[in-house]
């Protein structure tokens, strides 16, 4: 598929055997250094011999040296080709060392009972965490909440689409409205939790509570009953993230050629019909991208919940992330928390894969 638009440069690099040996020596030498340091630290950890290490930092430094040597060695050994590899290699090394390694490590933690504050250290406990998870009603409750939160995206999408259409129509002061609509996205969720969740929605003095009283809700409490609390959290999250979808949809709308909508108008399509039969189908790919990215962000929802309700009342507003956060804060058991997170990851990967497959088949033009 690609390839034709890539750069093709013929290179003539004469790599002498000496240079190749130097590069190899650099890479393997630093690898050996890393191995020796890591081994020494492991030995100390296991109590065989004391080298006087305080932390695992030396291993980290040795790793950094090795990574640098690997990048540099590419250029020495492979010349031009290595110079090209150098574009991607740093980022790849960075991501691999910061995700793949911790994930593997996380797998080990997930199958153990590890209370960080207890002196016993890590204890392998097999499938006990899984069994505990299976019987944990709060975890599955948080999972169900995530489904509700994710379903709220449909409404967010509709609102965002409406706003994007309005911004795309012939209006004055478009720049002002665009900036105003964008601002909620810039605010930190923690600040939003206080600004809206703790002060504006405060039952006695908050302006929104006053408004609710004025509209006839005698005793407004936005976090009292489970349903209302969940709904309030949804609203606050929607408030922050609607601009995000709106901007993406607006970009999509602006990319639609003017001739198309004009042609449909000439053919007699008015307002709604023009929207449903021309604009909406054209916007389908952008919509799907926007919704998928929004789902990804929604699955990370935690800050607002942690700061406003801390999961209450009775876990009604809990997200998986906020639940694990509290689980760790309260019991400082990393093992169980990691197992919950791993299961969450597996579910997310499965769901997202299915969604992406579905999306791919939906956005394919109908014939």
């Amino acid at each position: 598929m690609s390839g034709s638009d890539h750069l093709h440069v013929v290179t003539s690099d004469a790599i002498t055997p000496g240079r190749r040996r130097l590069g190899m020596g650099l890479i393997w030498g630093s690898a050996a250094l890393l191995g020796v340091v890591a081994l020494a630290q492991t030995a100390q950890e296991a109590g065989w011999r004391d080298f006087g290490f305080q932390t695992w930092r030396p291993t980290l430094y040795a790793y950094c040296v090795w990574a640098t040597a690997l990048c540099w060695g590419q250029v020495i050994i492979r010349g031009e080709q290595g110079r090209r590899t150098l574009f991607v290699l740093p980022a790849a090394l960075f991501v691999i060392s910061l995700t793949v390694f911790p994930l593997l490590f996380g797998l080990v933690i997930a199958f153990s009972d590890w209370n960080l504050s207890s002196p016993d250290g890590r204890q392998f406990n097999g499938l006990a965490n899984l069994r505990q998870m299976w019987a944990d009603p709060f975890y599955w409750n948080a999972m169900t909440n995530m489904v509700w939160y994710t379903l709220a995206i449909v409404v967010e999408y509709a609102v965002a689409f409406g706003l994007a259409l309005l911004l795309n129509s012939q209006i004055r002061a478009r720049k002002f409205f665009r900036v105003a609509f964008l601002l909620p996205l810039m605010l930190s969720p923690v600040a939003v939790s206080w600004m809206i969740g703790k002060s504006m929605l405060e039952a006695r003095f908050g302006p929104l509570a006053r408004l609710a009283r004025g509209l006839g809700w005698d005793n407004p409490s936005f976090f009292g009953s489970p349903e209302v609390a969940r709904f309030t959290i949804m609203l606050m999250d929607a408030w922050t993230f609607i601009p995000f979808m709106m901007i993406m949809l607006l970009a999509g709308l602006q990319a639609i050629p003017k001739e198309l909508t004009e042609a449909s108008r000439v053919d007699g399509a008015t307002g709604w019909r023009s929207f449903w039969e021309v604009t909406f189908p054209l916007m389908l790919p952008v919509s799907i991208t926007a919704i998928l990215i929004r789902i990804i962000f929604k699955l990370k929802l935690a800050d607002i919940v942690i700061n406003v309700t801390s999961g209450g009342p009775g876990g009604a507003t809990d997200t998986v992330t906020s639940f694990i956060f509290r689980e760790y804060r309260d019991r400082s058991n990393v093992g169980y928390g990691t197992m919950l997170a791993m299961v969450y990851l597996v579910i997310i990967v499965i769901v997202m894969t299915v969604l992406m497959k579905l999306a791919a088949s939906w956005s394919r033009p109908r014939t």
Binding site: S193, M248, K300
Partner: protein, 306 residues
């Protein structure tokens, strides 16, 4: 239209005009309503920071009309005109957190844009083969990091950082933040580089520049607006990040959101000082949002439209 109009509007035309007018009113009504929804919380925070207890209880909204602004909230932060010259532990604490946030957000954004741009450029120009992975696979590998929820990494990182002595350090946070925004940077920059014709580099290489020389002298200046967009978007995300900061820092490397969150519970009803703190925390990004709105929109629109 004046009285002496040659063409008289027919009844049907006039009806059309009223419909058009009603339509306008509706559109602007909705726009203004949503603008109020977006801006009121910010307005509320600013005004509340100048209120005193009775004003809060009475629910006064408009300064100078409803109530007389007071520096109460800002005084408690040590940032009001009469306390700005004196010593204030709260202000020192605030400035420390503010600085932490700024350093963490700026360095991780710079690092992410640097690594991400290079990778995106490489992937858009050369064919790679790392083991079984071809270009598309490598791109997917980078972008798939977006799906990874922070919780999955949080606890392993907690344990690793503890062993590495990186807990509660700015460096540790910077590394993690870079990781979280890197996929977004690559997403945006891939789009940018794909839009630049390869003939430019080919011409540069004919003139004797190397791959990296062509990248730095020819491509980078063209891709700069995209890089700024990616940088600002990263800045927004990292400045606001709370989850990792709350887990991995305790006293030294705390960022502003952590400080803000720790104040929410303890202060009870002293809204004025919380409002001042919240406003000080969001101010930098509000300014960025207003001034650099163009870049933010550009960044988010990248990848949305192919």
């Amino acid at each position: 239209m004046t009285e002496t109009a040659i063409f008289k509007d027919s009844e049907a035309d006039r009806q059309h005009r009223t419909r058009w007018f009603a339509n306008r009113v509706l559109i602007y009504g909705v726009l203004i309503l949503w603008a109020v929804i977006c801006l009121f919380p910010i307005y509320w925070t600013i005004t509340t920071s100048f209120k005193m207890a009775p004003n809060v209880m009475k629910g006064n909204l408009v300064p100078w009309v409803d109530y007389d602004p007071a520096w109460l909230g800002w005084r408690s932060l040590g940032l009001s005109p009469d306390t700005i010259g004196t010593e204030s532990t709260v202000r020192d604490e605030f400035m420390k957190r503010f600085l932490n946030s700024a350093i963490t957000a700026l360095s991780s954004s710079v690092l992410a844009v640097l690594l991400g741009s290079l990778a995106a450029y490489g992937l858009s120009r050369f064919t790679y083969k790392f083991a079984w992975m071809k270009n598309d696979d490598i791109s997917f590998f980078f972008l798939s990091q977006l799906i990874l929820p922070p919780v999955v990494l949080a606890l392993p990182f907690l344990v690793l950082y503890k062993a590495l002595g990186l807990l509660d350090t700015t460096v540790g946070l910077i590394l993690l933040y870079t990781l979280t925004v890197l996929p977004i940077v690559i997403w945006i920059m891939r789009d940018q580089f794909a839009g630049i014709p390869t003939e430019l580099e080919e011409a540069a290489m004919v003139d004797g520049l190397g791959v990296w020389g062509a990248f730095f002298t020819i491509i980078l200046p063209i891709a700069l607006p995209g890089m700024v967009a990616a940088f600002i978007l990263s800045l927004v995300l990292t400045w606001n990040e709370y989850f990792f900061a709350a887990l991995l820092t305790s006293t030294h490397a705390n960022t502003l959101p952590v400080m803000l969150a720790s104040q929410t519970g303890s202060n009870g009803i002293s809204w004025w000082s919380m409002a001042a703190l919240a406003f000080a925390a969001i101010l930098p990004l509000v300014v960025i949002g207003v001034v650099l709105e163009r870049f933010i929109i550009k960044g988010m629109a990248a990848g949305a439209v192919k």
